[in-house]
């Protein structure tokens, strides 16, 4: 082959490079305008009968997780991680709160039982809380600092390392 013609196959390399670059970006990662703002307060009627008011948790680091029992596989993947994070950090001043949206009560209870979730969990009838937090889909997780400000939003399943990293960082901060 004459080497001059090498440009024919080589000409596609820039395009391939551009497409490969695409893996490094996330077209959906639109930054939430809520990050840095005070977390909208809410009161949750828990599945186990109690009530939870976000304002009562001021001074603690709060992980608010929006989920649903029909959300395969992401919610099923993250449930053990959330339970584990709650067990490991509750004594150090962190709370995990589950908010079940767009779901049937029966399905939600079965989900909680299946994973043995012990952190506070409650439904969001009418979707009021998820609207306040601008939730697009499940799962989405918000990290709230000791001052009650939203510090980060995570779309998709949270993993144990991610949870640990965020909680450690936020717990380091003074109240």
């Amino acid at each position: 082959m004459s080497w001059k013609r090498l440009w024919i196959p080589l000409s596609i390399l820039p395009i391939l490079g551009l497409l490969a670059y695409g893996f490094r970006t996330d077209p959906r990662a639109v930054p939430s305008p809520l990050v840095g703002r005070p977390a909208p307060s809410f009161t949750l009627a828990l599945f186990d009968g109690g009530r939870l008011d976000l304002d009562d948790l001021r001074g603690k680091v709060v992980v608010v997780n929006f989920w649903a029992s029909w959300c395969y596989p992401a919610c099923y993947e993250e449930a053990p991680a959330l339970q584990e994070g709650w067990r490991a950090y509750r004594d150090r001043g962190a709370v995990v709160v589950g908010i079940d949206i767009q779901d049937t009560e029966e399905g939600a209870r079965r989900f909680i039982e299946q994973f043995g979730l012990t952190f506070p969990n409650g439904p969001d009838p009418g979707g009021k809380i998820s609207i306040d937090y601008g939730v697009y889909g499940v799962p989405e997780t918000f990290f709230i600092d000791r001052q009650g400000r939203i510090r980060a939003k995570h779309v998709g399943a949270v993993t144990a390392p991610l949870l640990r990293e965020r909680l450690e960082a936020l717990l380091e901060e003074p109240a």
């Binding site: 000409s11 596609i12 391939l16 551009l18 029909w70």
Partner: protein, 648 residues
């Protein structure tokens, strides 16, 4: 148990494909027919194994086996029977099984037809097809196994995406995949020719029918997709330049270019490199479509991230392009054209222009589709490219293509004479111009619409004019008029089949023009008993009804439609509430006539059923688009009729 058997079937098929590729290539280089024959058995094996895998997956769907992740993701206990079967291709993993099974089917057809006829090309064709199947089977084994287990086993599945619960979605993917996989066969022949250095017109003649059929299936896939979008999505449109639509449209554009330019090569032995490039491009674009929609690199209503599958596809696209383009560069010496362009006014140059426009359109669509990526890479800015860009650039291109559709088939090969041009085009040009004038006098003031309608009439007139002259000539030899027409169409079925397909495309163009330019719409809140007016219709709100369906809750509005004081009937637009969806899904109601569609979408409503918001549209000529699809089907049938040589 069943998932394990299914997985094993795919794994064995992968081994067979790898073996078949190696055996066939080795058989070709060492001239050992027994090796090639064994590859044929491997092809049969792959087909059967994939059929088994598909049946097992369908069985898992029908028996609600939620331990299979794919089943749990795409069905639930309420999913109706038919949609449990079509759930098979409701998402990526199952679609790949169907896709590869079709490819295996095509491969068997190649074995059946060309085993004896194309002795030298055939083993390489088989090797290429096997290699492509091996890739898909690898994807099904590693990153996207349809039989992946789910633990813990959920009690109920998530359910099929509600938008896919529609008859359009039963057929649309099948046609689309038949089109995509269909282009694999001409690609395999092209590659075989390049490998062997046998670069005469053989591969083109052999694959002509494949190309036509693949083009047809892809066209239908696009039209059915548009129809689905029209009656399911509830915004009254059928095309939105979404990246996924573009992904299917680009191979159609290059495929259309290929379909036309091979005729020049057959006739004039020109454009050899160009045609090879086009088929390589078309095949790569079918892969690119899957890559784009499944890798999650570009946001689209259809796409969702699927782990490492994007990387697999990108690697394969890179392999295909680098391998085939290097072959092309290596063989370029032997690819010198024999014929050359004699005159600017000739059929060759009309076809060349057609190719230029089609490839230009492909480039535009490609640029618009990947521009968000480019912008982020170069400037770090997130942008999205919308319909206005695509419309602005592509409308002139498509108008030029319509014009060429009238010129190309009638202008002479090599060099057109002034007399010939006058004979062929005087009347059609006059009719097109007169038609545009009539529409103007009837009150159409939209310049683009007038231009389109004039061009469409011009092209239609060229075809009628040509067919009429042919018929008259045949009548002189003693046929009756109808007999002469049938005889002419059958004898020159390639030419007139092409005409009929063109006619179908014209109908689609008229439908698009009518519905884009002359749409009338309104949105109003109505109390019970109140009416709104849209176009010539009055739509009266009669009340709401609600019904619990197996997997959703349906609220329907009842509307009485009056047209010029005649009650034409009732329409029932609704809203479907699926527990797993944040948003309700529209259930569109529409009445089609040849003139226009009345299209109703239910918006919000009050719980007591006294008040409802309705979006009403009158979409002129939409049904022409779907009817165009029927005409294209008829034309293709005529085109691929076997035998009766001496084509036009």
């Amino acid at each position: 148990m069943i998932p394990e058997v299914g997985f094993a079937a795919i794994a064995v098929a992968l081994a067979l494909a790898c073996y078949g590729m190696a055996a066939s290539a080795l058989g070709a280089t060492r001239e050992r027919p027994a090796l090639v024959a064994s590859a044929q058995y491997a092809a049969i094996g792959i087909f059967v194994l994939l059929a088994v895998a598909m049946l097992l997956l369908v069985y898992a769907f029908l028996s609600f086996d939620f331990s299979v992740r794919y089943v749990a993701m795409n069905t639930n206990l309420g999913t109706p029977f038919y949609y449990r079967i079509t759930g098979l291709w409701g998402a990526l993993e199952g679609s790949l099984v169907l896709w590869t099974w079709m490819l295996a089917g095509y491969t068997l057809l190649v074995v059946a037809f060309y085993r004896r006829r194309q002795r030298d090309l055939y083993p390489w064709v088989l090797a290429v097809l096997m290699g492509i199947m091996a890739f898909f089977l690898l994807v099904m084994t590693v990153p996207a196994s349809p039989f992946q287990r789910l633990a813990p086993v959920p009690v109920d599945g998530r359910g099929l995406n509600p938008l896919l619960e529609d008859t359009g979605m039963i057929t649309h993917p099948i046609f689309l995949y038949l089109g995509f996989t269909g282009f694999t066969v001409p690609f395999a022949f092209a590659l075989a020719g390049l490998i062997l250095g046998r670069l005469d017109e053989a591969w083109i003649t052999v694959t002509r029918r494949w190309t036509v059929l693949a083009w047809y299936f892809l066209s239908m896939g696009l039209l059915i997709g548009g129809w689905w979008s029209y009656h399911v999505l509830g915004w009254g449109g059928y095309w939105a330049w979404d990246p996924v639509e573009n992904a299917a449209f680009m191979p159609w554009l290059t495929g259309t270019a290929f379909l036309h330019s091979v005729m020049i090569q057959e006739r004039r032995r020109m454009l050899r490199v160009w045609n090879l490039l086009l088929i390589i491009l078309t095949f790569s674009l079918t892969l690119f479509g899957t890559f784009l929609t499944r890798s999650g690199i570009i946001a689209s209503v259809h796409s969702f991230t699927q782990g490492t599958i994007g990387a697999f596809f990108l690697a394969f696209i890179a392999l295909v392009l680098l391998f085939s383009l290097s072959l092309l560069a290596w063989r370029a010496d032997r690819l010198r054209a024999q014929g050359e362009l004699d005159s600017l006014i000739s059929r060759e140059s009309a076809f060349l222009l057609n190719n230029l426009f089609l490839v230009g359109a492909t480039f535009t669509v490609f640029l618009g589709t990947v521009f968000p990526l480019l912008s982020e890479a170069v400037r770090g800015v997130k942008v999205s490219v919308g319909a206005p860009f695509f419309n602005y650039v592509s409308i002139p291109i498509f108008l030029a293509l319509i014009f060429l559709m009238g010129v190309g088939p009638l202008v002479a090969w090599r060099r057109a004479s002034w007399d010939g041009l006058k004979r062929n085009f005087l009347w059609p040009v006059a009719i097109g111009a007169a038609g545009a004038l009539v529409f103007f006098l009837l009150g159409v003031r939209h310049a683009l619409a007038l231009l389109t309608l004039g061009l469409v009439l011009f092209v239609a007139a060229t075809m009628v004019h040509d067919f009429w002259r042919g018929t008259r000539a045949r009548m002189r030899t003693g046929h009756g008029p109808l007999g002469a027409m049938a005889d002419l169409a059958l004898r020159q079925h390639r030419r007139y089949g092409g005409f009929v397909v063109h006619l179908g495309v014209l109908l689609v163009a008229v439908g698009i023009t009518g519905s884009q330019v002359f749409v009338v719409q309104t949105e109003t809140s109505l109390r019970r008993g109140e009416s709104l007016e849209v176009g010539r219709y009055q739509v009266r709100f009669e009340g709401l009804e609600a019904e619990e369906k197996s997997n959703h809750f349906l609220v329907t509005g009842v509307f009485t439609v009056v047209n010029d004081r005649h009650t034409v009937g009732r329409m029932f637009p609704g809203k479907k509430f699926y527990p797993q969806e944040q948003q309700p899904i529209a259930h569109v109601a529409y009445r089609s006539t040849w003139r226009e569609d009345l299209y109703l979408v239910l918006g919000g409503f009050s719980r007591d059923g006294q008040l409802a918001t309705v979006h009403a549209m009158v979409n002129p000529l939409v049904s022409w688009i779907w009817f165009g699809g029927v005409v294209i089907t008829l034309g293709t049938a005529l085109l691929v009729l076997p035998g009766r040589r001496r084509d036009g």
